[in-house]
Symmetry: C2
């Protein structure tokens, strides 16, 4: 249990951790909330989901034994650099970024030797963002993946595992490069496809475009839910996980072209086989109770 947990960035994830920590009692004695946005800080005062709101990150991290960075991955390097000299000796630094190699690449070169850095990524979220969108049960039953670099203090890793488990999550430790490949296919590519199809629909000529909205059948509607996510966060994720994402998109595009060819030439077996593989994966998901 931490004495003082400082959360930097009180969006969906940060504000959910704050709410959980305020309720749970076994996560930290004191929660300090810090956000770069004045309006978010003002809102935090009203919401009462932290013991203290401190807009200046260098002051917010003072005497904290754990600092959790919950900012978009594109902003993470600058925030880490700003707070690094002000961290308490022996403090644990962690984050919630969706891409882990990029985060390690930004933090490790500036990491103080007396600070343990335990990168984390809770696989939880909704299409909403901001401090009002969080809720204490967001992480319940979800995974939080940790990608500590070799040599990270085992106690620090255990403490961050504990934090997430008390938030209701299951934890798994894995290699950052492996994390980035898995997330590219399970999350980043689906979001890229969802954003893209919305753009494609938006480019259609007048009448058709209107009716896309009016007749959005379940397929398109599900895509728009994904596509409603925060633009800056997703821009950062796409850029930070560029290599793995572009590789997965290239594989996907080859597969989509093969499907197009099968449709053009009426290759029934190929089409049915692809559809059946989708169903098999769905069944697999249901079996492991992720669905």
């Amino acid at each position: 249990m931490f004495r003082r947990l400082t959360l930097i960035g009180l969006g969906l994830i940060g504000s959910s951790v704050a709410r959980r920590a305020m309720q749970h009692g076994g996560i930290a004695h004191e929660i300090v909330a810090c956000d770069a946005s004045e309006s978010v800080c003002a809102r935090l005062g009203t919401l009462g989901i932290a013991h203290r709101v401190e807009p200046d990150p260098t002051l917010a991290v003072r005497d904290a034994d754990c600092v959790l960075l919950c900012v978009p991955v594109g902003a993470l390097g600058a925030v880490a650099a700003a707070i690094m000299p002000h961290l308490a000796a022996g403090a644990i630094l962690s984050d919630v970024g969706s891409t882990k190699q990029s985060v390690l690449g930004e933090i490790l070169p500036i990491l103080r030797p007396d600070i343990a850095f335990v990168p984390g990524h809770p696989l939880a979220g909704t299409e909403y963002s901001g401090p009002d969108s969080g809720f204490a049960t967001l992480f319940e039953g979800r995974w939080c993946l940790l990608t500590p670099p070799a040599g990270t203090d085992a106690n620090a890793i255990a403490a961050i595992e504990q934090l997430w488990q008390r938030c209701g999550a299951r934890t798994r430790i894995m290699d950052a490069a492996h994390h980035d490949r898995v997330l590219a296919i399970v999350s980043h590519l689906p979001h890229l496809l969802a954003f893209t199809i919305c753009g494609t629909a938006d480019d259609l000529a007048g009448e058709t475009r209107e009716e896309v909205l009016e007749f959005a059948a379940s397929g398109f509607r599900d895509f728009t839910r994904i596509a409603a996510s925060d633009p800056v966060m997703w821009r950062d994720i796409f850029l930070a996980n560029r290599e793995a994402l572009l590789e997965m998109l290239a594989r996907f595009t080859e597969d989509a072209q093969a499907m197009a060819r099968a449709i053009r030439w009426g290759d029934d077996d190929f089409i049915v086989d692809k559809i059946n593989r989708g169903r098999a994966i769905r069944r697999g998901l249901i079996e492991i109770r992720q669905a």
Copy 2:
């Protein structure tokens, strides 16, 4: 109100119409159910969602003033040809196929002059199939699009509109080619993308593949729900709406490649613009209460 409504194909859609018609009382005096599958016919006997189960379509349509074909679009032509000589004079023939030009292309050349054909497409469904998956409220608040060819008897069109309105749906009459383009983008392309990404994930090497299932974040999970749909139905839809679907896929692929290029070269503005368009479409959907 029909005297005898014959439903051919008692899957998700057909069995939902049957359930609704049995409950509503204002749709038809008698519901006759017909399915090519022996096991479905046996199950229908147990379910009690029709007044009579008749496995032979030529007998099932006898004396029916309305026949609704609820079979996959690939099977529709053969079924229509088989029943055509046996339809009662002046009967109305309709269908629920997801592609309308192909259906018109199969039916019009064999249509008897004394039969009115009113093609329909209820925009409703779930990822489940078969006679047990239907429910009476499936069409509540959903659209049913009708694409009658020029010269179709106005009373027949009105009767089919009435049928769907009593099923709880709103109706709209439109051109078949326009229907097929709109559906290609709102439904067929999303399904193609969902099936494809599941196949792409399934092709990944051992460990990553396992973890795709384990860590399916919300993005991928939503795609697998779409991808769980009936393979034969979707194969038929893809083949029957080939031209419009391939055109939409080509547009989508260009857009995805443009996004890939923006990610590779770090074109922030392009990426954010695309994401914002997705959000705008989502907002549009929510505004018209489709979300």
